[in-house]
Assembly symmetry: C2
Homo-oligomer: 360 residues x 2
Amino acid sequence: MERNIARLRERLAPLNVTLRPHLKTAKSVEIAQRVMASPQGPATVSTLKEAEFFAAAGVRDIIYAVGIAPWKLAKVIALRRQGVDLAVVLDTVEQAQAVAAASREAGDPIPALIEIDCDGHRAGVLPGDEDRLVAIGKALVEGAQLRGVLTHAGGSYAARGEEELRRRAEEERSSVVEAATILRNAGLPCPAVSVGSTPTAHHAVDLTGVTEVRAGVFVFFDLVMAGVGICKIEDIALSVLATVIGHQREKGWILVDAGWMAMSQDRGTAKQAVNQGYGIVCDSSGQPYDDLILADANQEHGIIMVRPGTDASLPELKIGDRVRILPNHACATGAQHRSYHVVHSASDIVHGEWQRFGGW
Amino acid sequence: MERNIARLRERLAPLNVTLRPHLKTAKSVEIAQRVMASPQGPATVSTLKEAEFFAAAGVRDIIYAVGIAPWKLAKVIALRRQGVDLAVVLDTVEQAQAVAAASREAGDPIPALIEIDCDGHRAGVLPGDEDRLVAIGKALVEGAQLRGVLTHAGGSYAARGEEELRRRAEEERSSVVEAATILRNAGLPCPAVSVGSTPTAHHAVDLTGVTEVRAGVFVFFDLVMAGVGICKIEDIALSVLATVIGHQREKGWILVDAGWMAMSQDRGTAKQAVNQGYGIVCDSSGQPYDDLILADANQEHGIIMVRPGTDASLPELKIGDRVRILPNHACATGAQHRSYHVVHSASDIVHGEWQRFGGW
């Protein structure tokens, strides 16, 4: 994990942007402290529960990067009254009007970023939609703050190869820069120009016009990121420790006590070149076995098999032996657990336990 | 929920079996108290954390229904010393020897059930494997207790139609009765003969020789169970309340603040006749919209669309409006939340909040 954090920091330093890590991946104060530039932030969150939790731990510069619903503004204002520079995200005039009205009522201009749709993936205004951008901006400045523009290249998870990843990063950059230019040309402020996804953060060559980069899963990495080519298997810093509880030898199955409750049901690699099932199986020190995967999972049962189509052999694992399973998606697997057990590389010794939280 | 519980109780009463509900679905003391025959049990659990949690709440008759790993026996003995009749499950001679050795050392004969593989689904001894059954039984009685035999017709989730479901229930019954007969003929005790899955519990016609039925998801039901034909959509007693946070009108998308973190990534209906995406979308009172599903999900974003291939129209939902989403798999969706908000049918008024727990 420490190597993954250092790697992204070093990569972004010459690009003249701030790293605003997304804390939704780990949801842990100890990890937030290691991934943020300072104990006060900056940071990105995906729920107001995260904002409340990290604010209580001293974080003071937070973007809540999921479109705001008007009823949540009371919580936003309460956090801002505690001294947190909490900004919201939106992509409609209705939301902008609601944020401006709440700001006026509270006597506190809530900062808002306009979400830009850089790749048709999810939410956001199209980068060249001048009418909508300016209308949102004008509605906001009637009481709230127009903090800037923000986008997320969610489509980059499906990209393959260095060239396409660099192209996705450039699309992400140019879309927010275009939107920022439209706002500024209309006489509106746009101090923040925010991009972010782990694949594009690791492939952007030029970030001219961008002020900050958000990324989350880079802290742990996972099999989906390895499949996209962003990391190697040995960079994955999160695993689930499981115990062998049975065999069905004639079927080539080893049963373990980690099912989908422990791994999550994320099957993100099923659409990639190599389907990793529910995860890659390693020995207890984290060394992967040849072509051994968690092929199927029930709530608390996992079925380990040799990857279909390979001639690797099933390792000799006895009942009670421990294995580590690398996850498809670190955000999803982490969410199934209440704490992290901290180990150094290739070691079984637990050096600490870091709590994580969940909920909304 | 109360109707679902009453329905299974009434169904099983004339079949002369005990209901031993599986508490892994809800992981809530309040729901356990409503689903168990008495505050002391009987109950089934899938983790020792559940056993510890429910034991602390007064439950005294528990089967831990996932194959036992030897290192967990210290926790089993600790719970038994608190007065809990906690039984374990196993399917190998090695496990039986470990349980017998731990029993002798503790001076406490731990009760164990031999798991039977009734449908090739997961763990267990084949019902007619006399040598293995008797070897396990003999290893157990050297210090531990042979409590009986247990099976789970996990394959019944893939069954379709009343006839096949009745056949699965009969296979489940006959497999454990066969194994029990083998043990008794070898002079071994076999007081408990335990079967269970929600589909078979709702379809068994004759349970001669069976002493108890385990079932879990019947308490809430879900879209997978509706797809198998075990319940109707209106029986589903668990939903996720979400807020509209945006639109992509040209794509026919409504965005809500419930993604896979709120729904889980269970896509169990994708293999059924009707793919429900991540869930069926209802108004805030729980009335389903026509052919409206949560078609896609990111961590905290959900995309609502009309079901492909239908001509239903997208309802007019404004930013801030609330919808309820019915889950594919209640066990998985429940696990994403820290508590239940209790509402009466077709009402938005929250009558209480019931905590749920997780972890291992």
